[in-house]
């Protein structure tokens, strides 16, 4: 049984001008212990997918109109409140993109961290002392010095890198099988990014947690993940083992992405991909990438491609590879 199996997920948002059909049939699956990357440009639906898995989409205006999210065999979309609570407490954790926004500014770190630990270990009936010890331990694990002092601090007193480490500590201290990291380093200083990522990667490996790393950086994905999903406009357009994807990108979008990365060998300005991401109010028919695709065919305008198997776990949603 796969750890996480999303099939044909359709999610949209009711906004003033109409209905934004963001996720248009997302397929995503991973096994226990895997470290999977999810790449895509801003606005393609990565965070919406993550939030759907965690069931924290703002329900008006968001609407899930189809599909299923199977986590360890149970559909998250049809779970009852207390089942979801258990999943939150002990199975899935999330690290948000902006650590400043993710921490409540008027409460101490200690309060937030210890509350998180207490509720995730709700079945263990820990004493205050024990919770505190675990909190200190968690901070030590993310290499934060002087853990005792930090517990008393407020987020405003700490730097961005420290805040993200605390978020990581919160995610890992709460016993998770699956960690979803949504662009964990994007809002950090460039000099800190590497540090924090390295730490995250090490911890994930140490605890053998399954992880989804959401990012728009191909470089990160190459270094840290075993398998990659490429997402565009609410659909997964390609998936493959990391190495395979970089050596052999099949989908025209992926190819465009790869080509757009400037190379150190200095071959001049890297070509971009023509056009822009679609308007979710009026998305293109058929394959959502067809307006920008250099290999567009008639069928692309009419039908939506499913994920075609190209061998060795390499799938791509493009009619070029229909057979």
């Amino acid at each position: 049984m796969r750890l996480l199996d999303i099939k044909n997920l359709e999610v949209g948002f009711d906004v003033y001008g109409g209905y934004l059909r963001v996720l248009n049939g997302v397929d995503f699956s991973m096994d226990e212990g895997e470290k999977v990357g999810l790449v895509g440009e801003t606005g393609c639906g990565k965070t919406t997918t993550a939030k759907s898995v965690l069931n924290i989409l703002p329900v008006p205006p968001a609407r899930t109109t189809g599909g299923s999210i199977m986590f360890k065999g149970d559909d998250i979309l049809t779970m009852k409140k207390n089942e979801i609570r258990r999943v939150h407490a002990q199975e899935i954790s999330m690290i948000f993109q902006d650590p400043t926004a993710a921490l409540n500014p008027v409460f101490t770190i200690g309060d937030q961290l210890m509350t998180a630990i207490r509720y995730s270990c709700f079945d263990e009936d820990l004493s205050r002392r024990e919770v505190r010890d675990r909190a200190v331990q968690a901070l030590r694990e993310v290499r934060l010095p002087d853990a005792e002092r930090i517990l008393k601090n407020y987020p405003v007193q700490l730097s961005g890198g420290m805040r993200q480490r605390i978020c990581i500590a919160m995610a890992l201290a709460t016993r998770s099988t699956l960690l979803i990291a949504d662009e964990p380093t994007t809002s950090l200083d460039v000099t800190i990014q590497d540090q924090v990522l390295r730490l995250l990667g090490t911890l994930i490996r140490e605890k053998d947690t399954s992880a989804i790393l959401i990012t728009h950086s191909l470089g990160l994905v190459r270094e840290w993940t075993e398998r990659v999903y490429v997402m565009y406009a609410g659909v997964m357009v390609e998936t493959a083992g990391t190495q395979e994807l970089f050596e052999n990108p099949l989908h025209p979008y992926t190819q465009g992405l790869m080509a757009a990365v400037p190379k150190l060998t200095g071959e001049g300005i890297a070509p971009g991909i023509e056009g822009r991401i679609p308007d979710y109010l009026n998305p293109p028919t058929g394959c959502r990438f067809h307006p920008r695709c250099p290999h567009v065919m008639d069928v692309c305008r009419k039908e939506k491609p499913s994920q075609f198997d190209c061998g060795e776990g390499h799938k791509t949603a493009c009619f070029l590879y229909r057979e």
Partner: protein, 342 residues
């Protein structure tokens, strides 16, 4: 001890401001034509008496000399002689201040507590009927002057329904409780005199409500939108993924951060109501500082005017300092500021 330093700084600043204010009002007041001495003593007083009166009050001296005399007195607590009541202004203030204090305390309480509660209820039932009612109510409350509410209440509860008294602090057939705090309601509770307490409350509720309704609506609206905003923030989403029960998220984590903007506004709102109290006290014949204030204003009793402005200014200052302290207690970002570079 940071807080102490802060208070000290504010108090010093405000003393300077009040001083400046006194100079300003003094200057404006002395600009007016007319003869205060003649006005005080009436047209039939002999000229010699009026002249002596003028000498005693230094009315013939240049402005700065007059101001000097005033300051000398003010430091000692003597605000001079009131032409209107024909006695010491300080005595007048002592007499009338408790009534206004009681009124403003209840008003402040209603404004803040009920305003915030209403805002919370509104946010919880977002877009349902309660929320819409509160929204309409808040629009109306903000654009209705307090004196309109006062007249309305007087009409409805005082005359038509006849369930609430319309004048003063205590009905004529009730004995005044022994004065401990000067607040009729508290004093009667202390004395264990429940009929008096009840009567005092009945007198207090209409003017208080008239003053409190407008800002209460405003506070509700601010609280509601603050809560609605914060609900979208990432930290709330994170707390949900941590399996913290929704109740706890709402009542603890959402609440504290959402009432900060409301509390910040409370100071200003309270101040503006101190102003409207002048009219409301007049309408209800409430024997408070504000009614005294409007009377001295309308009668051009300069000593009275300046003294009232000073006292009100002081009240405002105290309220502001309290509000600032509460806000900085609630919001560590303000009290800790940039201890570290962010």
């Amino acid at each position: 001890m940071r807080i102490l330093k802060y208070i000290l700084k504010r108090v010093l600043h405000s003393i300077l401001v009040l001083l400046g204010l006194s100079i300003l009002v003094f200057i404006i007041a002395r600009v007016v034509p007319g003869d205060p001495a003649r006005m005080a003593l009436g047209p039939r007083a002999p000229e010699k008496v009026v002249e002596k009166f003028r000498e005693d009050l230094h009315l013939n001296d240049p402005v700065y000399v007059q101001y000097y005399h005033w300051i000398k007195g003010a430091i000692r607590g003597d605000f001079g002689y009131s032409i209107l009541t024909k006695r010491s202004v300080t005595l007048d203030i002592k007499d009338f201040f408790p009534a206004t204090l009681e009124l403003m305390l209840l008003t402040g309480l209603i404004m803040s507590v009920f305003g915030i509660l209403l805002g919370i209820a509104s946010a919880r039932n977002a877009n349902k009927w309660l929320d819409n009612v509160v929204r309409v109510f808040s629009y109306l409350g903000v654009c209705t002057p307090a004196y309109v509410f006062a007249i309305l209440f007087l009409l409805i509860f005082g005359y038509v329904l006849n369930i609430l008294p319309t004048i003063g602090r205590l009905s004529t057939w009730i004995d005044y409780p022994r004065t401990v705090t000067g607040l009729m309601t508290i004093d009667s509770l202390i004395a264990g005199d429940f009929p008096a307490f009840w009567d005092a409350l009945k007198h207090l509720i209409m003017p208080s409500l008239a003053l409190a309704l407008g800002p209460m609506a405003q506070e509700a609206r601010i609280t509601r939108s603050s809560m609605a905003d914060n609900l979208q923030r990432d930290f709330i989403a994170l707390e949900r993924t941590q399996a913290i029960p929704e109740r706890k998220i709402m009542s603890k984590y959402l609440l504290r951060i959402s009432i900060i903007p409301t509390v910040s506004v409370l100071g200003l709102d309270f101040a503006s109501q101190l102003g409207w109290a002048f009219l409301v006290e007049l309408i209800f014949n409430w024997p408070g500082l504000s009614r005294y204030g409007i009377q001295v204003i309308l009668n051009k009793d300069l000593n009275g005017i300046i003294a009232v402005i000073m006292v009100i200014g002081l009240m405002f200052l105290v309220v502001n300092v309290i509000v600032d302290i509460v806000v900085s207690l609630l919001d560590p970002r303000i009290r800790l500021g940039a201890e570290r570079s962010v």
